[in-house]
C-alpha cells in the first residue's frame, strides 16, 4: 500500500494536472465546495417557499423536494448527463454535469435543514417584526434567516461531508475525481486491486473523518452561542 502511495500520490492528489486535466482529491474537494456553495442559495429559496403563506407555493416546493429525495443521485446524474446537452445544445464537461446533479440533489436535502431552522424559531420573532411594520422579505432577510442559518450551521457542515462522499459517483460518468484516479491507478497496476481500493477507502476516511471531527467543535460553539441568548 505504501509503495502505491509513494508511486502514485501525485496522481491521486491532483490527477494529471500539469500535463492533463485537474483531478484526484483536489478535484473531489473543489466539486464538494462548489456543489455546497451553489446549492445553498437554491436551498434557502426552497425553504422560504416551503414556509410560504401561499399554499400553492408551499405545495410545489414540497413536491419538488420529495421527488428529488425519492430519486437516487445516480439517476439525477444520468439525467443531467444525457438531457443537459440536449437542452442547452452544448456538450458539457463531466465537471459541470456532476455539479448540476449535485446542486439539485443537495439543494433538496439542504432546504429541509434550513426549513427546520426556520420552523424552530419562535413565532413571536416573526410576529414582532411584522407588527413593527417591517415587510415580509425584510423580516426574512434581517430577522429569520440570520438566526435560522446560524442555528443549522452544524447540520449544514455535516451535509458538506456527505457531499464529498457523493462526488465519488462521478466515477460512473468518468469525472476526473479521486475514485476515478484510483481506478486509473488500478488499471495501470492490474494486480493489486485490494491495495488500491483499500488505499482509496483510507484516503476518503481520513479526509471525511477529520473534517467531521473538526466540524464537531464548530457545533459545540454554535450550541454555546445559542445557550447564551
Amino acid at each position: 500500500m505504501l509503495e502505491i502511495l509513494q508511486d502514485f500520490w501525485l496522481q491521486l492528489l491532483i490527477g494529471q494536472y500539469p500535463k492533463g486535466p485537474l483531478g484526484g482529491l483536489v478535484m473531489t474537494l473543489i466539486l464538494a465546495v462548489c456543489g455546497l456553495l451553489a446549492s445553498l442559495p437554491v436551498a434557502v429559496l426552497l425553504a422560504i417557499a416551503r414556509v410560504s403563506p401561499y399554499r400553492w407555493v408551499a405545495r410545489s416546493a414540497a413536491v419538488f423536494v420529495n421527488c428529488v429525495r425519492g430519486m437516487p443521485l445516480l439517476m439525477l446524474i444520468f439525467w443531467s448527463y444525457f438531457v443537459l446537452p440536449k437542452l442547452t445544445g452544448f456538450s458539457l464537461s463531466g465537471f459541470w454535469t456532476l455539479l448540476a446533479a449535485l446542486v439539485i440533489y443537495e439543494s433538496a436535502y439542504l432546504s429541509e435543514v434550513v426549513r427546520s431552522g426556520i420552523e424552530a424559531l419562535p413565532r413571536g420573532q416573526i410576529e414582532a417584526s411584522r407588527s413593527l411594520g417591517v415587510g415580509y422579505w425584510t423580516t426574512m432577510r434581517k430577522v429569520v434567516l440570520p438566526q435560522a442559518l446560524f442555528n443549522v450551521l452544524p447540520s449544514m457542515t455535516s451535509q458538506f461531508v456527505s457531499t464529498i462522499k457523493e462526488t465519488s459517483l462521478g466515477y460512473v460518468i468518468s469525472v476526473n475525481e479521486l475514485t476515478f484516479a484510483a481506478n486509473q491507478v488500478n488499471n495501470m497496476l492490474l494486480t493489486k486491486p485490494l491495495q488500491v481500493f483499500g488505499l482509496l477507502a483510507l484516503i476518503y476516511f481520513i479526509v471525511c473523518f477529520s473534517m467531521s471531527r473538526a466540524l464537531r467543535s464548530l457545533e459545540w460553539r454554535v450550541r454555546r452561542a445559542r445557550a447564551m441568548v
Binding site: G70, P72, L74, M75, E166, N183, Q195, Y204
Partner: protein
C-alpha cells in the same frame, strides 16, 4: 419523444425486481447486523466498544461506491481459489454488492437504534429490574418496545436511502433498474422515455416507503400527552 416497446418496459420491470430484491436482502441483513453491533457495544469490555465504534465511523466516512468497488475488486483476492471460482460462476456482482450495501447500512442503522435506546431514561430499566423482572424480560417488555418506536422515523429514512443506494450496484454490473435504463438508452437513444420510466419506478418505490413510514409512525407514536392530534 417516443415511447418504449413492451419488451423494453418488461426488461426495465425485471431490473426493478432486482432492485427490490437487493433492497429487501440488504435491509434484513443490515438490520440483523446492526442489532448485533448494538449488543456487542453494550458488553463492558473496551475492545468490543472500540471495534463497534471503528466499524461505524469507517463505514460512515467512506463513500458507498468505494465500499462497493473495494468488495468487488479487492475482496475476492483474499478468498481461496475454488471459492472465488464458485462465486464468479454464481452472480458474484449481486452477492458482493449485497454484502457491501448491508455492511454500510448496518453502521447507520446501529447508530439509529443506539440513539433510540439512549432516549429511554435509565430509571425505567432500574424500575423494571427492581420489580423483579430479569434482564431479558426488561429488554423485551420495557426497553425494546419503546426504543423501536422512537427509532421508526430514522429507520424509515434509512430504508429510503438504502432503496436509492442500490443503484450504486450498477457500477459493478448488477443488472438492476439504473443499469437496465442505461442499457436501453444506449440501444435506442430514447433518452426521455427510458430515464422517465426508470425515474417513475424509483419514485413509486420511494413514495411507498415514505407512505408506509408515516403510517407506522402514526400507529406506533408514543402518546406523551403533549398535543392531541
Amino acid at each position: 419523444m417516443s415511447f418504449l416497446t413492451n419488451a423494453q418496459l418488461l426488461s426495465m420491470l425485471e431490473g426493478m425486481l432486482t432492485t427490490v430484491q437487493l433492497f429487501a436482502i440488504c435491509w434484513v441483513m443490515a438490520f440483523t447486523l446492526a442489532v448485533l453491533l448494538v449488543v456487542i457495544r453494550t458488553i463492558d469490555f473496551a475492545p468490543c466498544r472500540w471495534f463497534v465504534d471503528t466499524y461505524v465511523e469507517f463505514h460512515r466516512n467512506v463513500p458507498l461506491l468505494v465500499q462497493v468497488l473495494f468488495w468487488y475488486f479487492g475482496m475476492p483476492e483474499l478468498l481461496p481459489e475454488p471459492v472465488r471460482m464458485w462465486l464468479y460462476a454464481h452472480n458474484a456482482e449481486m452477492s458482493l454488492a449485497a454484502i457491501a450495501l448491508s455492511l454500510g447500512s448496518a453502521a447507520y442503522i446501529a447508530e439509529d437504534i443506539r440513539s433510540g435506546l439512549r432516549a429511554i431514561p435509565a430509571t425505567q430499566f432500574e424500575a423494571s429490574r427492581a420489580l423483579g423482572s430479569s434482564f431479558l424480560q426488561t429488554m423485551r417488555f420495557v426497553i425494546v418496545p419503546q426504543a423501536i418506536r422512537t427509532s421508526i422515523p430514522p429507520l424509515v429514512s434509512r430504508a429510503l436511502l438504502l432503496f436509492k443506494n442500490t443503484s450504486v450496484a450498477m457500477a459493478i454490473g448488477v443488472v438492476e433498474l439504473t443499469y437496465r435504463a442505461r442499457e436501453i438508452e444506449s440501444e435506442t437513444y430514447r433518452t426521455y422515455a427510458t430515464f422517465g420510466a426508470a425515474t417513475i419506478m424509483y419514485l413509486l418505490g420511494s413514495f411507498l416507503i415514505m407512505f408506509v413510514g408515516s403510517r407506522l409512525y402514526k400507529r406506533y407514536r408514543i402518546n406523551t400527552g403533549a398535543g392531541h392530534a
